[in-house]
Amino acid sequence: MVLTAAILACCCLPVMAEEKILRVATTNEVKSPAFIGDYTLGLFNHISNPPLMQMDQNGKLIGLLADHYEVSSDNTQWTFYIKENQFWSDGTPVTGDDVAFSIQMYGKSVPNAGWIGETLTDTAVDGNKVTFTFNKPYTNLALEFTSYSILPRHIWESVENPNEYTSTGPYVGAGPFYLDNVDLNAGKVIFKRNPYWKGTSPAYDAVEISWFKNEDAAAKALESGAMDTYWKYASSYPYAAVDSLKSSGTFEILEKPTSGLTFLGFNLKKEPLSDISFRDAISYAINYQEMVNIATLGYGRVPNRGFIPPAMDGYISTQAMEYNPETAKKKLESAGYKDSNGNGIVEGNDGKDIVLDLLIRNAYSREAELVKEYLEKVGIGVEIRSVEDNTWFELKDTYNYDITLTRTTPWGMLMHANWATGYFDSRRTGQGVLHTVDDPVFLELCDNILATTDTTLLNRYAQDVQNYYADNLPGIPLYWKNDITPYNKKITGWYSNPLYGIMNEFTLTGVKPVA
């Protein structure tokens, strides 16, 4: 009898299937198990706690937790309609209350969401409908709401200070996966399948994101086959490691133009940079194709004068940047910048040699050396000042430079009045922005964009902004680049958007082993 019972028990026991895990390598390091407070965890938790909105592969805003939204004619009231049939990983349904609580909580507790606290005056919930009322017109809300993860009210309302709350997990989530564990000493976060998820069923049981402190080790992890893909916010897989990875024969490459770019910014408050003719001459001195070849190893292209890359919604084609040192010299001469003493360097209006102070962050030393070489060839002296990030922030905020070399991020391109205006509008401050343009024409253009949600008008303003950049060159784009995402050949279904790359719900529910 005992033997029979044992045999029956063995037969009835389910065979333990091996857990299918999607492995992602990154160099975005989680520094603290603070679900909201940690910057990187805040990026990862979009998987488990979807924001209201997301971007599609063409850069258009579409619903994620929200189905759709409506905006009042004065742009002060935004109503989001939450999708039906969504459940938290503890089985509780997702409600409008969760959304209202989350957005209010961000405004109150999270430093970088302080604008919500300052402008949100009322939140009304009616079934699956949540209406936010602001004390002034707000036109970018749909975009802003691509970055705020929605949290379950029944869990988080008892947390006194959500921004400082730390736990290694699990955290209740409403996405296809919930965050199961954050292990700083193992260097990974593990997401597990949400048992109450009603959307397209993921092919994987878990998603494991492992971070590396250096790109070389991350690249080797991929080449060894230990990882299925690589993701880093606003960055590509290291271009120098692509060929080596391709030769392993295990990986395919997803190449997508990105809205982030590298550019030369000018201190428009100082001569001769305040002179458009001088900036125009500089624009002809730069060998863009060489820049593309060296900085992106060919995974990029020569930019246009309109600054905005084609990956952005609203892009228009403007004149391509042109490398022509002779034109640059002629333009300098006709603008009055001549080398009268024959020492190879042109003089400014004060009769002194023009030697520009090129302020850069350490990461851009290679590009800076090239720029120095190009400008010296046309008779503009350059001295490179390479500093670490914090010193750069301080020096550029006090306008203690002539030119600088920096980059934009996909989010940065969209902030403020969209189309990189956040980097130039003199009324803004912030770590990465230059705030150098105080031309009333440009400021009015920004205000116009900020005052409307009308897509026809916005498209027209997008054209105006790009034409403004092309005519006035407040910044010179050095190269547009493509983001490279390697993925295991044995896995199909990857989806990439311009904001967060492959880190999106389409990818996580769409990837599956090749049949």
Partner: protein, 322 residues
């Protein structure tokens, strides 16, 4: 006056000097991070985020950064008196708990490497100095010079590529995959080995140099003339004198035990003290920087006191000239 009284007096004077150093250190570790360019609040908010000046002022006040520096120092000293090292803006945790967590792991991998480095480096270094004309002494010395002059980051990467990528014998990163002793050992073998090789080669070269210099003194010749065998001259007389400079250096190693080994942590993606301090510097996380520097300084002072005591024990003449 007796020799032991002189040594004791010397030690007491040293301890007073260290106490004075501690007071200076307290001021320096507080001021140094705050004198660096950059704003912790701007780092906290992020690169692409706009906050109104009013909101920034509120945040500055919330973190106690709006008061004058002398008031901030007073508050810091008061908290320190209660053993409170402050709260990290960026890591969302009390500095003391961060330090305890990171220091425990750092102690594990650096501590083992220092001990192994002593065992592997000192004995052969002594032997190579004593029998410096032998071929193996030349060979070992050349190897030690080669390792010492290799950039640590490069050597670590080479080791990673060979043993992790090509042979697949060790894991790529982290202290463990699953928190168990086997996994921890498996993960730490390579970082500890690389560090050990560095410590051992440095100890080897210093010990070899010290023995070479001691054996040319008059006292070994005198001892030899008394008919004492060669191996006893080395172990009974030369070793005691030759090891003194190394003790000071090893004491400093232990002092800096908690500063971590940044290059090892970066290559093997380890969550140790080195990367904690590095990240705190980049983000201008004042409490973490001040707390870490203070703890490291205290350990360096303690290690120096221990080294002084050890030197007095080994050579009672130490400090008599002062």
């Amino acid at each position: 006056m007796g020799a032991s009284f002189l040594s004791f007096h010397y030690l007491i004077r040293k301890i007073f000097r260290y106490l004075f150093s501690f007071v200076i250190i307290l001021l320096v570790v507080f001021l140094l991070p705050r004198m660096m360019p950059g704003d912790p609040i701007a780092n906290l908010v992020g690169e692409d985020v706009y906050l109104s000046p009013q909101k920034i002022l509120e945040l500055r006040s919330a973190f106690g950064l709006d008061s004058p520096l002398h008031e901030q120092f007073f508050v810091y000293c008061m908290k320190l008196y209660q053993l409170d090292l402050g709260y990290s803006f960026h890591m969302h945790a009390p500095v003391s708990s961060l330090l305890i967590d990171r220091a425990a792991w750092t102690l594990l991998y650096i501590g083992i490497a220092i001990v192994c480095g002593i065992i592997i480096g000192v004995g052969p270094g002594e032997k190579a100095g004593w029998e410096s004309e032998k071929w193996w002494a030349h060979f070992l010395s050349a190897g030690a010079v080669l390792i010492s002059s290799t950039p640590p980051y490069l050597l670590s990467l080479i080791v990673l590529v060979i043993f992790v990528y090509h042979f697949g014998w060790f894991p790529l990163k982290g202290f463990y995959d699953t928190f168990d002793i086997t996994s921890i050992i498996h993960h730490l073998v390579l970082p500890i080995s690389v560090l050990t090789v560095f410590y051992a080669s440095r100890n080897f070269l210093i010990m070899r140099g010290a023995v070479l210099s001691e054996k040319c003194q008059l006292y070994p010749q005198f001892v030899r003339s008394l008919g004492i065998p060669e191996k006893d001259i080395l172990s009974g007389h030369i070793r005691k004198n030759a090891i003194i400079p190394l003790i000071t250096l090893i004491a400093l190693d232990f002092g800096f035990l908690f500063s971590g080994a940044l290059f090892i942590e970066i290559v093997f993606s380890l969550n140790g003290m080195g990367s904690l301090i590095y990240d705190a510097i980049l983000s201008r996380d004042y409490p973490v920087l001040t707390g870490s520097f203070l703890v490291i300084s205290v350990f360096v002072i303690m290690a120096n006191i221990l080294s002084d005591i050890l030197c007095i024990v080994l050579d009672p003449r130490t400090g008599r000239n002062e």
